[in-house]
Symmetry: C3
Subunit: 116 residues, 3 copies
């Protein structure tokens, strides 16, 4: 028997699910959708920090990140914010692909699996 903890449980999705010492975050997007890719990435990474902190994890414990960006032309801008944020020596397995997202103003969305 394994227990599951859920945080920020909404009607469609839950922001944070914990099971087996592993944390699964819903796809994180920016709040201010008028921002450019750099600004949105900063916001997404702040969301990740906040959600991980709530369950006692943090960015040094991230296992896998999948980054969806709507325009690969924003790859460098996204990476600028990423490189400022990601802890050296603790970088996660990462993949970045281009995909249209649910709202046309979204420029970047990230899903995260982390250790508790």
């Amino acid at each position: 028997m394994s227990s599951i903890q859920r945080y920020h449980v909404g009607p469609r999705l839950c922001e944070t699910v914990v099971h087996n010492n592993t944390v699964y975050l819903a796809g994180q997007i920016a709040e201010d959708l008028d921002k450019d890719a750099l600004g949105q990435t900063v916001e997404v990474l702040a969301c990740i920090d906040r959600l991980l902190a709530e369950v006692g994890s943090d960015k040094t414990k991230i296992l896998q990140v999948t980054i969806f960006i709507t325009d690969m032309a924003d790859f460098d801008a996204m990476n600028l914010a990423w490189s400022e944020w990601v802890p050296q020596g603790h970088t996660p397995a990462r993949a970045t692909v281009q995909a249209k997202l649910a709202d046309p103003r979204y420029k970047v969305e990230m899903t995260v699996i982390a250790a508790l």
Copy 2:
């Protein structure tokens, strides 16, 4: 040493893989490809129910779902079926992105990680 159980093992892929009390499903698609996005989503969710039931899991134990839809214009139709199906209080971490799928008639594909 960790043990792995595989169910519906085909030549290219396996529908269900269990390891460490965690269940990984292959990307689920509809069987009737003449159906619209709503109808295909209903079928995909029924596939997920069936596969999870086989290993003693169920939709209240889903940790993470990634939803690929071929046309973001179908987002609302997909969500209509999703909202009917997803158990309130047990919603999973979820991300939805647009991506072309292996068959042009596929309108939605979902990958699932669940707890046993």
Copy 3:
């Protein structure tokens, strides 16, 4: 408390992360980008073999693979290499979607979750 091992730790990402008897690989791409989809897939699969071997895992222990290809017209070519490589009886949960990747010459990228 759970421990995390990281291998090939770069400034942006890490190729291999191990936690809880589970291995997460960064998105694997080919080295020779002049190769076609078949040739690139062969290289990607060789990368996966090499990274898993380093941590004492192998392709019979893969749990989930997500395959991103830039052109669904390459689906058959990718599958040709895949079918030669994937161990019968031990196929993983798999999903394949079309997505533009970070370099326009990339034809295929795969993310992997495996058991140790």
